[in-house]
């Protein structure tokens, strides 16, 4: 019996998984492997198909085609077996309006058949970890959106699981709660949990995830570690030049190879290039020969955010 589990390398394996709504293809034949014990970031702009993918993986909706294997279990044949071993925080809010914060945690543990004593301890732990102790007696109906979201995420840790799905869990949280949640999740992964984490915020994925897949328009357009993504797409640097005279700099610089003008306000110019050294030299030469005084100058590595935007933009083209 234990044989299969001991050789399980991937918590999630999907092959050409797709979902159509009528003629519209929301998820278009994606392949993914999520290693056991890792945090996998599923990143994409709004409407990319993240939630739809997650609903399929959590067996909430059936796929239109393809195969999926979750925790070594066939997702089409045995959805209930999968659901018993996973935790899911959906994108949409879910709460028991008439129950207090602590009662809703308690009852959720009961629904998962967690022993009463363990339940009690976990409620106390989670109230502290998620900064809910002050509002433990408040009804969910009376909470702010951020507080409700925290209860919703905390609640999922009432039960044991092998794999946790989080669909944009930090939406609606303030920066400190956001960081608190990400760190809490990191701690759980150390204990062996695998996490599938959906977000449209790149910083979060960069901070948290071991691997990242970028999805756009239902298709996966890149899968890698955050560092490799940066290496692959991120040799580019951004050059920012501030001049004191209004000049048509874009046309002055149009002759330089590998120099993409991102932004030109007349006095502030932003340029991207993967050969920033040479390009910078060229720019300075041209500006000097045209007697344009340079006020300020900076070269910064292109952020993952910009990589993300450009990868998405390219795949839209």
């Amino acid at each position: 019996m234990g044989r299969k589990e001991s050789i399980l390398l991937y918590s999630i394996e999907i092959n050409s998984l797709s979902k159509s709504y009528g003629d519209f293809i929301a998820v278009d034949g994606i392949d993914l492997k999520v290693e056991k014990g890792k945090i996998f970031g599923f990143l994409g702009p709004n409407g990319a198909g993240k939630t739809t993918t997650m609903k399929m993986l959590t067996t909430l909706i059936p796929p239109s085609g393809g195969k999926m294997n979750i925790l070594g279990i066939d997702g089409i044949k045995s959805p209930l077996e999968i659901r018993k071993k996973i935790g899911v925080v959906l994108q949409q809010p879910s709460y028991e309006p008439t129950l207090s914060v602590e009662k809703s945690l308690e009852k959720y543990g009961m629904m998962w058949n967690v022993e009463k004593k363990i339940r009690k301890n976990r409620v106390e732990e989670l109230l502290i970890s998620f900064d809910l102790a002050d509002i433990r007696k408040k009804k969910n109906d009376d909470l702010s959106i951020g507080q409700r979201r925290r209860v919703q995420v905390a609640r999922e840790f009432m039960h044991d699981m092998e794999l946790l799905f989080l669909d944009e869990p930090t939406v609606g949280l303030d920066p400190s709660a956001r960081r608190g949640l990400l760190d809490f999740i990191k701690g759980k992964v150390k204990d062996g949990l695998t996490i599938f984490f959906t977000t449209h915020i790149l910083e979060e994925a960069e901070y948290l995830c071991d691997d990242i897949a970028i999805i756009n328009k239902g298709k996966i357009i890149a899968v890698d570690t955050p560092a490799d993504l940066k290496n692959k797409f991120g040799r580019e640097k951004t050059i920012k030049i501030h001049v004191s005279e209004q000049k048509d700099m874009s046309s002055l610089l149009s002759g330089i190879p590998d120099c993409t003008v991102e932004h030109d306000s007349g006095t502030v110019l932003t340029v991207r290039s993967s050969q920033s050294e040479q390009v910078l030299q060229e720019i300075l030469k041209i500006l000097a020969s045209n007697h344009v005084p340079v006020e300020d100058l900076s070269v910064v590595p292109t952020s993952l955010e910009e990589i993300f935007l450009s990868v998405v933009k390219n795949s839209n083209a």
């Binding site: 909430l60 659901r83 899911v88 009961m110």
Partner: protein
């Protein structure tokens, strides 16, 4: 603990709050006593089968059926609330099947219906005990009416819950249904003596059947009409339950 028991436990916990208790128990009691005695001046006696009843006895027994309907319409709204508050999806990504969720709602509704009926019976008892005629059919009739009535009204609420999208629409529909069922029925006044159009309309209302069967049990009066009414209740509850289950199992997420 079995999955369904856990879900029923959860359903009862979220349903039994102060508002529910006031609406379900205190309000009907006030109504029985205030209306029962106030209207006695207008309606002295109500013919019922081979006997005549005092109005307070008539209305107290009517309230049993009314309360079953009332509480099960409200608990049938569990599904609506679960959809609105995201708990429907959350439960369905948990260790439960749709069938278990549906059954847990039926059991919850049945339990709430039976308990409501028992409480109103207990409290209303002083009003109608003089005219009660217990016999072998009393308990079976009251229990049959409570269960089929609960399932029937619970299914109606579930069907409405699965069909509608907006809260405003839902409230309008539930309130309209509620008002029609409550007041176009034999719960508060007898069919005999009502204008013919109204007394005919009474029989397009399942609450009338429910109340008639409860009264038949409590006042020991059983005849062919009551048997027909039981059949209608049984068939109605079954059909509506199947429709509700079908709609719920097809509900897109």
């Amino acid at each position: 603990m079995h999955e369904i028991i856990r879900l029923v436990n959860r359903n009862l916990t979220i349903s039994l709050n102060m508002g529910f208790v006031i609406w379900q128990i205190i309000f009907p009691l006030i109504y029985i006593f205030v209306a029962g005695f106030a209207y006695t001046a207008l309606i002295h006696q109500v013919p019922f089968g081979n006997k005549t009843l005092d109005y307070p006895a008539f209305i107290a027994t009517g309230m049993i059926g009314f309360n079953i309907m009332n509480s099960t319409l409200i608990s049938g709204i569990i599904i609506w609330n679960d959809r609105r508050h995201g708990m429907f999806e959350q439960i369905l990504v948990g260790p439960f099947t749709r069938a278990q969720y549906i059954l847990s709602n039926v059991y919850t509704i049945g339990i709430i219906g039976l308990v409501s009926a028992a409480m109103i019976t207990a409290v209303g008892y002083p009003l109608f005990f003089k005219q009660v005629e217990f016999n072998v059919l009393t308990i079976p009739l009251v229990v049959f009416a409570s269960i089929t009535g609960s399932i029937l009204f619970g299914s109606i609420a579930s069907i409405i819950s699965t069909r509608l999208k907006s809260s405003e629409g839902f409230n309008v529909v539930i309130n309209t249904v509620f008002l029609f069922f409550a007041f176009v029925s034999t719960a508060f006044y007898p069919a005999q003596g009502a204008p013919p159009i109204l007394s005919t309309a009474f029989y397009f209302n399942p609450l009338t059947y429910l109340v008639d069967v409860v009264r038949a049990g409590i006042f020991g009066y059983f005849n062919g009409l009551v048997a027909t009414e039981m059949t209608v209740l049984g068939i109605g509850a079954t059909v509506l339950f199947l429709v509700a289950t079908k709609l719920l199992s097809k509900l897109e997420l």
